[in-house]
């Protein structure tokens, strides 16, 4: 019985890990590859969730499909964000630290904007599979987690392919290693970063759909995600998309195990402890640059 419970929580943790990976891959690209510590990333995810809710309710579509529809507009938002950032902070030669000013401000603005526009209360979409569970051998798994896991893993695979198989994707990885050498290859580093930020925010659009598929949403929910997404990125090693998937799974399983042994109230503390520990012990992924 106890073993069953453990097994089930590990399985659920794994599924949630795929979901966390989807929330974090965008940050892996912005923070890990182009050194933009976008603390507002989770706020963009929640914004995506509200848009997905509107789309789902208007057209009667699945929230995950709605998230996919948001990819293109969020890409453009990411482009705009980068242009704003590069023209105000980056161009002044200020480091990523100064950029935090912008993104912290944006985080608060987005929260307030959502709270006034959509109300502070919880909103939920009652989808057909919202409360359905599938049995998988002896395990009973919530279908909404299964779907978000599949979508999350698919997003990670798609991004990995993009980063390794396309000219632009490779350039994004290259620009993190040596921007000047990238310009010697005939690519404009600013354009590459513009694309990267677009992709980063585009994933937040999709992730918004997943957040909506998994549970109810509220305007300040991003605060529950900040510690988690940064823990995933740092755990996975900055800049590694596949690392984000592994980091997500580690976090998902740890949270679920903590829930069993310590109680549900502690799940939020898990990511914070992981983040602080990883920073303190400094594995190779987060070495000072």
């Amino acid at each position: 019985m106890a073993l069953d419970l453990l097994l089930e929580s590990i399985a659920t943790g794994l599924l949630i890990g795929g979901f966390y990976a989807a929330l974090s891959v965008g940050l892996t690209i912005s923070f890990g590859l182009i050194d933009i510590a976008n603390v507002a990333h989770p706020a963009f995810i929640i914004l995506g969730a509200y848009f997905a809710l509107a789309l789902s309710q208007t057209f009667g579509i699945d929230p995950i499909i709605a998230g996919l529809l948001l990819v293109a507009p969020f890409y453009v938002i990411g482009n705009a964000l980068y242009l704003f950032y590069s023209n105000t902070f980056e161009r002044r030669g200020e480091s990523s630290l100064a950029g935090l000013v912008l993104f912290f401000g944006l985080l608060i603005l987005l929260e307030v904007g959502m709270a006034t526009q959509f109300g502070v209360g919880l909103k939920a979409l009652y989808s057909a599979y919202g409360s359905v569970a599938v049995s998988f051998g002896p395990l009973l798994l919530p279908l909404r987690f299964v779907y978000s896991f599949v979508a999350g893993v698919a997003a990670v695979i798609a991004l990995e392919l993009f980063l390794s198989r396309t000219f632009r994707g490779r350039a994004i990885r290259a620009v993190a290693q040596d921007a000047q050498a990238v310009s010697l290859m005939g690519a404009k580093p600013e354009t590459i970063r513009l694309i990267a930020m677009g992709v980063s925010i585009a994933t937040a659009g999709l992730a918004g759909g997943l957040v909506l598929a998994v549970g109810p949403i509220s305007p300040y929910q991003d605060r529950l995600l900040i510690g988690r997404v940064f823990a995933v990125v740092v755990l996975g090693g900055s800049g590694s998309v596949v690392g984000a998937l592994l980091g997500g799974i580690v976090l998902g399983i740890s949270e679920n195990i903590a829930t069993i042994y310590l109680g549900a109230g502690w799940s939020l503390a898990v990511s914070a402890v992981i983040l602080l520990l990883v920073l303190a012990l400094r594995p190779s992924g987060i070495l000072r640059r």
Partner: protein
């Protein structure tokens, strides 16, 4: 010569704060001023590491909250005298600063910023899961008796917060002009060069974080008495951290006057606005103001003042 006058300014200010409520009676003034002064002290404390050292702390509310909960628990549940509870709150908060510092102050500043965000979540979780601290329900504070000289508790709290602010400002002024401030500014400019020039960079960052944490804890320790009831969501609110950060930024980061100007101006506007507008818009205005300043005047209000002043003084020379 200036230096000799500094302790006198300090004493005169303290005396002014202590005497004011005896002569001037206006309950709302003290009620509102307490919050403004609280932000002055928090911003000045934040500036020690953030302004001089360039390491941005996004977890002001965590330090503030640790102070609030420690003092609330000590004088509520254990009946320990307020003054000791306040100092204990500062000490625990300082210890918290040591822990975060050891975890992330050896890394790039971005990691410190993220670590402070995570630390906020962590202490909030701890409080939420500790019944002795009221969990999610919160703690009601048993008010102590009002002191004899002042009419009510708020006036006393005003005097105390006034004193804390003045002492924080004094400390900040001293640090800015001492070897600690010089070392912090050196490492803010270039850590490697600073080390080569003999600056013990990690130790200074840790000092600044601990002192800053101590002051924030002391500030937080009075808050339960002011508000009467504390619960983890409002105490550990990111909005507090954000306010402090923006006030310092808008006032003029890295100078002792900057955080005072910023907190006085923005804090007063917020207090005035909170009568009429909801707190949501309040924060939005702050965020918007920060972005505007971030883009057009990185030096903040202090920068604008000194530019105006600078122009005028060259004018008179001509």
């Amino acid at each position: 010569m200036k230096r000799n006058l500094a302790p006198m300014y300090l004493l005169v200010s303290l005396a002014f704060g202590a005497i004011l409520p005896v002569f001037y009676k206006q309950p709302y003034f003290y009620f509102a001023s307490y919050i403004v002064l609280q932000y002055v002290a928090l911003s000045v404390a934040w500036n020690l590491l953030g302004g001089y050292g360039g390491y941005l702390n996004f977890g002001t509310s965590a330090f503030f909250g640790v102070g609030a909960y420690v003092s609330a628990y000590l004088f509520n549940s254990l009946g320990i005298p307020e003054v000791i509870a306040i100092l204990a709150a500062g000490a625990v908060s300082a210890l918290f600063g040591v822990l975060i510092g050891y975890s992330s102050l050896r890394l790039r500043g971005v990691y410190f910023a993220i670590a402070t965000l995570a630390a906020t979540t962590l202490v909030q979780s701890i409080v939420l899961n500790t019944p002795a601290l009221g969990s999610a329900v919160g703690l009601y504070i048993r008010f102590p008796a009002a002191p004899a000289i002042y009419g009510n508790l708020i006036e006393l709290l005003f005097v105390a917060m006034f004193g804390i602010s003045v002492v924080s400002i004094g400390l900040s002024y001293w640090i800015e002009n001492s070897w600690i401030g010089r070392g912090l500014m050196a490492l803010r400019d270039d850590e490697q060069a600073a080390e080569t020039l003999g600056v013990p960079t990690f130790r200074l960052k840790l000092y600044a974080n601990v002192l800053s944490g101590f002051l924030m804890g002391v500030v937080g320790s009075l808050y339960p008495l002011y508000i009467g009831y504390i619960e983890p969501y409002s105490i550990f609110d990111l909005g507090i951290s954000f306010n402090v950060f923006v006030m310092t930024f808008i006032g003029g980061i890295g100078t002792w006057q900057g955080p005072i100007i910023g907190a006085l101006v923005l804090g007063s506007i917020q207090q005035a606005a909170s009568v009429t507008v909801t707190s949501q818009y309040n924060l939005a205005v702050v965020a918007a103001a920060m972005l505007v300043f971030g883009i057009f005047s990185p030096g903040g209000l202090k920068g604008i003042f000194s530019r105006l002043f600078g122009k005028r003084s060259t004018g008179t020379v001509n």
